[in-house]
């Protein structure tokens, strides 16, 4: 059989998959966990929107609570699209501005001090993001650089020291962990469970913060490729504005695609590569299907393997003697 991008598509099976997930949600939340509903953060992204829609279909809109947990560096889209999915589903929501908590924890100050190790002029009114070199362009190691933009719009790119890189990531992880703390606050007071929103690509490749967005009681779409999540979004009636928005990390203050921050390729191609890697498809066959060179796919495969190796620690429960 010739390998193609369509291999991960649900197609006509999307409806049955929705039914299967919803039955499992009811059994798991009400039956196994004995919880009355689900709470989740609404980022306006495709993943949280689909999980919210699945939760409403399974448990009813009165058993789902959506949280808006914006901070000073959140994009405007996050606020607007989060409200759009909440209103379209009719779920209750709570606004939680997490900026004061992040400031109190030193999230921004610690991160900015680390950035100043490599860009001394960096100040609180600058913006930044971490970026990776393209895996398609060369076989350079996937080592992060920081891009900082001054208030006048001048960009500076610098390689990070190991200590600066690790501190920037550690400080930024306050964002995901603070959000999870608030999700559990509301879950505890309502006797709800917390829904996590990773898709298979994110779950498999470790694109989450341990004990941050990686923490949850149930992860309803962690078995679905991102392509499949978009198919479910269409079948569930998630608004077109949300379905048309390019995936973003919304973690750093400069706009940042998921490709430049983490994955090697846009999500539909990344899905195909992950499937191919897991199913023994040769790099040559995968490259032919994606219109790329074999050596490029070999580098993508290596990147997939490297990320899976790192993800083992992220997935691991506490070790007990």
């Amino acid at each position: 059989m010739t390998f193609s991008l369509d291999v991960v598509r649900l197609g006509s099976r999307a409806g049955a998959e929705i039914d299967r997930i919803c039955a499992w949600l009811v059994e798991s939340v009400r039956g196994t966990m004995k919880r009355r509903g689900l709470v989740l953060g609404l980022s306006g992204g495709i993943d949280s929107s689909v999980v919210a829609a699945l939760a409403v279909r399974a448990l009813g809109k009165d058993a789902v609570l959506g949280l808006f947990m914006n901070e000073g560096e959140s994009s405007d889209d996050t606020v607007q699209l989060g409200r759009l999915i909440a209103s379209s589903l009719g779920v209750a929501t709570v606004d939680e501005n997490i900026s004061p908590m992040l400031e109190a924890a030193g999230c921004y100050a610690r991160r900015d001090a680390a950035i100043r190790e490599v860009i001394p002029r960096y100040a609180a009114d600058w913006k930044c993001k971490l970026v990776l070199p393209s895996v398609l362009a060369s076989d350079r190691y996937r080592i992060y650089s920081i891009v900082a933009r001054s208030p006048t719009g001048e960009d500076t790119t610098a390689r990070l020291t190991p200590a600066a890189y690790l501190t920037i990531v550690a400080a930024t992880n306050f964002k995901q962990r603070t959000r999870k703390m608030l999700e559990y606050f509301h879950a505890d007071r309502l006797v709800y469970a917390v829904a996590g929103t990773p898709n298979l690509l994110e779950y498999d490749q470790g694109f989450f913060v341990k004990n941050g967005d990686g923490a949850a009681d149930i992860k309803p779409i962690a078995h679905l490729y991102k392509t499949q999540v978009y198919e479910l979004a269409a079948a569930l009636g998630v608004p077109e504005t949300i379905r048309a928005r390019p995936p973003t990390t919304d973690t750093y203050s400069l706009p940042q695609s998921q490709e430049e921050f983490y994955f090697s390729l846009p999500y539909d191609r990344m899905d195909a590569c992950l499937y191919a890697r897991h199913h023994g498809v040769s790099a040559a066959d995968c490259a032919a299907a994606l219109g790329l060179q074999t050596d490029q796919i070999e580098r993508v495969y290596r990147d997939i393997d490297a990320k899976r190796a790192v993800a083992k620690y992220l997935h691991a429960p506490p070790m007990l003697l």
């Binding site: 070199p133 060369s138 076989d139 350079r140 190691y141 996937r142 080592i143 992060y144 390689r159 990070l160 020291t161 190991p162 890189y165 690790l166 290596r302 490297a306 190796a309 790192v310």
Partner: protein
């Protein structure tokens, strides 16, 4: 700054890799072993290795030099340091 004697460079790099990446048995990898294939070093580890080489041997590693051909084994590292130091 360390000497450029190839044997000294090799010994120092082996010691750095063994100590920083927690190889209980330093003899478990030879000088041709691929760090990536063996899972010895991840991308953060590569960054640490680049920083070590720059500091220890007073070199500047360009972005396009951060490739497996230069950093994925002890042999590759020794050759890279020798080339950079002329």
């Amino acid at each position: 700054m360390s000497t450029s004697n190839p044997d000294d460079v090799r010994a120092k790099l082996r010691a750095f890799v063994a100590k920083n990446f927690y190889l209980a048995d330093p003899t478990s990898f030879d000088d041709k072993t691929s760090f990536l294939d063996r899972g010895i070093i991840d991308s953060t580890g590569v960054l640490e290795l680049v920083t070590f080489v720059e500091t220890e041997y007073a070199l500047t590693v360009a972005d396009d030099e951060m490739v497996p051909q230069n950093f994925d084994s002890i042999d590759a590292l020794v050759a890279f340091v020798a080339k950079k130091r002329g």
